[in-house]
């Protein structure tokens, strides 16, 4: 990983975009990195598109708004269309191919298609599709150590939702193995 990793997660409200962003952010924090997490907020979140900027860096973070992502996680077509050209050359795009049938035309980026929503539904992990993509991102980009990821996912799930921890851990594992 270079000094700074800019991550953009985008999809519909309700797909866990902000939660997945927090998972990445907390994992980076567990490695004692500098972190920022910035959600889109406002009326576009109600049923419309939602996105979240996460920056993990060795040094203090300037703008927390990710306009040129190193990694894009796209959970629906409008999000992929909106941000595909913003990804830096050599960057990584993770596509939930259950939601997006279109292929990325760019040849200067690494694209991974994961049938995340379908896999999540089949395995009883409804709502964890994006965490599968986070697992895949961990495998391909290595944004933190394994230990930090394990701790990060525990930090981000509040005690009263402890039942969700196992599901999310399983989703991460599926992503890492796909």
């Amino acid at each position: 990983m270079s000094k700074t990793l800019n991550v953009l997660l985008a999809g519909f409200g309700g797909q866990g975009i902000l939660f997945a962003g927090k998972t990445i952010a907390y994992s980076g924090l567990m490695d004692n990195k500098e972190i920022s997490w910035l959600p889109s907020y406002g009326p576009e979140m109600r049923g419309g598109t939602c996105n979240c900027s996460v920056v993990i860096s060795e040094e203090s973070i300037g703008s927390p708004l990710v306009t040129q992502p190193d990694v894009l996680i796209a959970m629906n077509l409008p999000s992929l269309d909106k941000f595909v050209d913003a990804v830096v050359p050599g960057g990584t795009i993770l596509v939930d191919s259950s939601m997006i049938s279109k292929k990325v035309e760019r040849t200067d980026v690494n694209v991974y298609y994961i049938d995340a929503t379908k896999i999540a539904d089949e395995k009883g992990l409804k709502g964890c599709a994006i965490i599968i993509l986070v697992g895949k991102m961990f495998k391909e980009v290595g944004f933190c150590t394994q230990e930090a990821l394990d701790k990060g996912i525990q930090k981000v799930i509040p005690a009263k939702k402890a039942a969700m921890l196992g599901l999310n851990q399983e989703a991460l594992k599926i992503g890492m193995e796909s």
Binding site: K22, Y26, E34, W37, L38, G62, S63
Partner: protein, 354 residues
Amino acid sequence: MAEKVLMKGNEALAEAAIQCGCKHYFGYPITPQTEIAAYMSKRLPKEGGVFLQAESEVAAINMVLGATAAGVRSMTSSSSPGVSLKSEGVSYIAGSDLPALIINVQRGGPGLGGIQPSQSDYWQATKALGHGDFQMFVLAPSTIQEMVDFVPLAFEVGEKYRVPSMILSDGMLGQMMEPVEFPEKKDVVIADKPWATNGHQNKRPKNIVNSLYIQPEELENLVKERYERYEKIKAEEQRAEEFMTEDAEIVIVAFGASSRVARSAIKSAREEGIKVGMIRPITLWPFPDKTIEKVVPTAKKFLCVEMNMGQMVEDVRLVVNGRKPVEFFGRTGGVIPTPAEVLDQIRALAGKEM
């Protein structure tokens, strides 16, 4: 050292207020600051404090006036249109020589404007949030850590000089999360307030909190006395951060969210060999003119970067006073400038006669 936690700026600020003894919060919801009120509503009752959602912003600021007159630390928070509604009450607080903390998590304006981040209330905060001759102590955080650290500072300075304080934040800082560390828990020391109207119990003459003075001479003397305090604040309370200014030929002046964008652009420009640095005003009033003055002899050009149409740039021009060119770059309406845009501005300035 305490553990670092990830918190939204709004929530971190609210927690900091509780930790420094502010147990009285009055407010009204508005995006993008509602998390402050929500956090207070959850926490303050457990802390033995008062959270009250008022019927309007006007009511909320007057409740702050009442609470602070009684000698307790009290605050309100809102976003731009809501802060405008509070303006009458803020003027009364200033006219009554009361400290109080007002938070503005700015959004685009004028009018209802938008809900995305903005810095277009700089003039309102530093020149005239309300009628009459008065100033507030205004702090501009640029990180979530500063959202925390500036809360006790705002109370302490406000109480020391008996002036209202404002933390001028914005939607970006309010909504974003960063690791933040709270100071070790210690007993909060709040200065004595012999002026407080908290019951004389027949042990002292009664205190009166008032902003009405019918006799012009009396009012003039009072305002002049207040301005002597403002002069002390200007002399003693200016704060600014300097970033790579030692050899800078181009000096960017930016505060809050836009200073973060500028910092990213400066790092890129330095890699291209452009000698650029930044002065980041931390106090917007008093404006850190001493720090700007210091670099005027060595800087060739200044560039103000703001999320508005050019407000602080006027204060920079007042200090520079024509000795060097002061340019401006801004985005407004809720648009956050990108580091690439600011870098283009820096390159253009460096290309011009440098």
